[in-house]
């Protein structure tokens, strides 16, 4: 990974994300009336976030694995079921994985 490539990606994606926001507030709202646009716009975040959860927790490079991160995710589910706020969910997931690693290494 060259420094140039990473900077290019950061600035390209950053400016691109702003353009996506600007397009939303600038385009006429009737764009949403198109059923395909509306449906796909609803589904894309669901699919991407679900895939990100799965990959962040169960992938190690190109291997699938179950480790302390899975315990962290399970704890996050419990926290969400208890209607914990966002920050608490994130901290619970981290603390669970950290404690499990500490116990397994000690």
């Amino acid at each position: 990974m060259t420094r140039g490539a990473i900077w290019f990606a950061i600035l390209g994606a950053g400016v691109g994300c702003y353009v996506l926001k600007l397009a939303g507030v600038s385009l006429p709202a009737r764009v949403l009336d198109h059923p395909l646009v509306e449906r796909v716009a609803d589904l894309i975040p669901v699919a991407l976030l679900a895939a990100l959860v799965a990959v962040q927790v169960f992938a190690e490079g190109t291997r699938l694995t179950v480790d302390a991160r899975a315990a962290g995710l399970a704890a996050a589910v419990v926290a969400l079921l208890l209607r914990a706020p966002f920050l608490v969910v994130v901290c619970v997931a981290a603390a669970t994985a950290a404690l499990l690693r500490l116990m397994l290494s000690g």
């Binding site: 709202a29 976030l49 950290a98």
Partner: protein
């Protein structure tokens, strides 16, 4: 709804909206600490981390970008994932624009503040003035605190050593799940989520890091195209 351009909120109403917005801003801003720490742990420099928060300024895309880079994926895969997640802000903008009624340079400026939290704090208001108050105060509070806390998290992340000892890798999975959670009320979304996760894990062993998430985005496009056709048929036969 009364004509949004003319109905004027009372001062206490406006104060309540701004107070709620600051609360959301503080909670979200704190979460920027974890972004900063995760980002430097992924191998990005402190400057790159702060530029991401300033220029990209949309949390899920930022986490996705550094997640792909941390896993050894190509920066281009990270950028594409970030952009795909960023499309939801386009949708928010389409919904916000008639409500807020900003034009010209104001619209160009406030576009940067179109994120999950500012949208949520604006779309529920029943007058334009309160929607603007909710949107602008939440957006600005999150922007300032998110960038400050990114800097703090990035500095701390460089000092603490192996982020895995603190479970920071697990924190990212938890954060994505918390963002996904409110959308899982809908049974159709649950099905899409399970399919997307399964497909992503299925291609992990045979693709480079970052690609599985993009493939899962394809699942959404396919499912959207298929269900729209089905929906059109139902609607037509219903007439």
């Amino acid at each position: 709804m009364a004509d949004p351009a003319t109905s004027e909120p009372t001062a206490p109403e406006r104060r309540a909206v701004v107070r709620d917005s600051l609360g959301v801003g503080i909670a979200t801003g704190l979460y920027g600490v974890s972004f900063g720490a995760v980002s430097v742990a992924a191998g990005l420099s402190l400057l790159q981390t702060c530029v991401l928060s300033l220029v990209m300024f949309t949390g899920a895309s930022q986490f996705a970008f550094v997640g792909v880079v941390a896993a050894g994926g190509a920066p281009l895969s990270g950028a594409l994932t970030a952009l795909m997640l960023g499309t939801r802000n386009t949708l928010y903008g389409l919904k916000l624009s008639p409500l807020l009624g900003f034009t010209g340079w104001r619209r160009t400026a406030i576009a940067h503040l179109v994120i999950d939290e500012s949208t949520a704090m604006a779309v529920t208001r029943d007058s334009r003035a309160l929607a603007r108050a909710g949107f602008v105060s939440t957006g600005l509070a999150v922007f300032v605190l998110w960038n400050l806390s990114t800097l703090v998290g990035g500095i701390a992340g460089n000092l603490i050593g192996d982020p895995r000892d603190y479970g920071l890798d697990a924190a990212v999975g938890g954060a994505f799940l918390a963002l996904l959670w409110p959308r899982l009320d809908d049974p159709r979304n649950r099905l899409i989520a399970v399919c997307a996760a399964a497909v992503a894990l299925g291609v992990v062993p045979v693709t480079a890091a970052g690609v599985p998430v993009l493939v899962a985005g394809g699942v959404a496009l396919l499912a959207g195209a298929l269900t729209v056709k089905a929906g059109d048929r139902t609607r037509r036969s219903g007439r």
